[in-house]
């Protein structure tokens, strides 16, 4: 009984810890993104608030906190207020099944650097990540504004279209490992990374992941030029901040999953595992930022044909080819 109580106690501590880390991580990430943007475009980026603009995200946070919360007169008020929270929860839930390292000993108690090691880990991640669509479509529809509705529909169609290649592309990894638990998948890569066996799978996952995170070149949902700002056109203040927070956490999720599934997770020589993990994830986060300021945006019909006519057949072929070698 006491043991069960302690387990649940540690579980709650871990949940709170990871939630707070995830809530605070977008703060340095927004700073980094603006700095990367600045230097790629041969300017300095934020410089005024704090040393090299380090306090800029905090100033932004205060600004968002004290902004008026506008609710359009024609909006469905309940759904309009609820949508940002609905979209905020699923990206956090994904991290319940995401491990950050193996067992460590803390305070004389062996504990894992993960909240829960589910045996259906990957399936759970895809199921929960899929729920994010609801926040987007509810937010877009409840605003009762043409730009928001169009943005919501576009975003929804994009998310569900790319979810399919995303799901298919990890199938090769599951076949190789014979398990859906992320711990097992990382353990199986202690010698050779999965990207060696699954280059097509990795490519499809990367492209579909960028689309799922709604980053350039696939940020059609908020295409500033032609949709105002997409499904969150009518949002302001903290509710707008929740949507932004969601996008950053999804980007982080995709980076973490790429590292866990294809790049050996925390496996690496010399350095401690957690350092390797952070380095690898950091590299992919940087890659996303790099893409954003390098590539132009696709047209919507191009986006759809990439998803359905290129990535989907490619990932299906990957499954069949991998299957032949393993069966």
């Amino acid at each position: 009984m006491l043991d069960l109580f302690m387990t649940i106690f540690f579980m709650i501590i871990k949940v709170i810890g990871i939630t707070l880390i995830l809530l605070l991580l977008p703060v340095p990430l927004t700073w980094l993104e603006r700095k990367v943007a600045g230097h790629i475009q041969q300017r300095l980026g934020p410089m005024r608030v704090g040393w090299h603009g380090l306090l800029q995200p905090i100033a932004d946070g205060i600004k968002l906190l004290t902004k008026e919360d506008n609710i359009p007169i024609y909006a469905d008020k309940t759904l309009f207020k609820l949508a940002p929270i609905i979209s905020l929860i699923p990206p956090f839930l994904v991290f319940v099944a995401v491990p950050f390292g193996e067992d460590v000993t803390l305070f004389g108690r062996k504990t894992g650097l993960y909240i829960s090691d589910m045996n259906i880990g990957l399936l759970y991640i895809f199921a929960v990540a899929g729920l994010e669509v609801y926040g987007v479509i509810l937010g877009g529809w409840a605003s009762n504004s043409k730009y928001a509705l169009l943005g919501g529909l576009r975003c929804c169609a994009q998310l569900i279209s790319y979810e399919i290649p995303l799901g298919f592309s990890v199938m090769g990894v599951i076949m190789l490992t014979g398990s859906m638990s992320l711990l097992d998948i990382v353990e199986a890569q202690s010698q050779i990374w999965n990207v060696v066996y699954q280059p097509i799978g990795f490519f499809v996952f990367l492209v579909a992941g960028i689309a799922e995170a709604q980053r350039i070149p696939f940020d059609l949902a908020e295409a500033e030029g032609d949709l105002g700002s997409g499904y969150h056109t009518e949002y302001s203040g903290m509710r707008f901040a929740f949507f932004m927070l969601t996008e950053y956490i999804v980007m982080l999720t995709v980076s973490v999953l790429i590292v866990l599934l294809f790049f050996g997770g925390w496996n690496g020589p010399f350095l401690p595992p957690i350092v390797w993990f952070i380095l690898k994830v950091g590299f992919f986060v940087y890659l996303f930022m790099w893409f954003r300021f390098t590539f132009p945006r696709y047209r919507y019909d191009q986006l759809m044909s990439i998803g359905w006519k290129v990535l989907l057949p490619l990932s299906l072929a990957n499954i069949l080819i991998t299957g032949i070698f393993l069966a």
Partner: protein
Amino acid sequence: MLLDYLPVLIMAVFVAFIATMTLFVSSLVRPSRPYPKKNQPYECGVDPIGEASTGRIRIHYFVIAILFIIFDVETLYLFPWAVVLKEIGLFGYIEMFIFIFLLLIGLIYAWVKGALEWES
């Protein structure tokens, strides 16, 4: 076993709590001076005409949604198959090959019928 899924509930409640608290704190410090002109939906400064959410939506979005359902179910079939593929061997592989092949015909049909085209 069930204990593996308890953190999901804890996390959902905790995140919802934090979000609500942030909105509450924000409501204490932010101004609130709404008037009808300000809270009109954004339409480039022009008075909005008609309602947006009456459901006048391009049919293509529904087609995409239906296609999504088909392939999403297929993904669900593939997950358990991929886990045990090494044990069931070639027989299981051929079975899944037939299944994927049938769905591929469906995709080709949708493609030929123009369900995947966004122009025009």
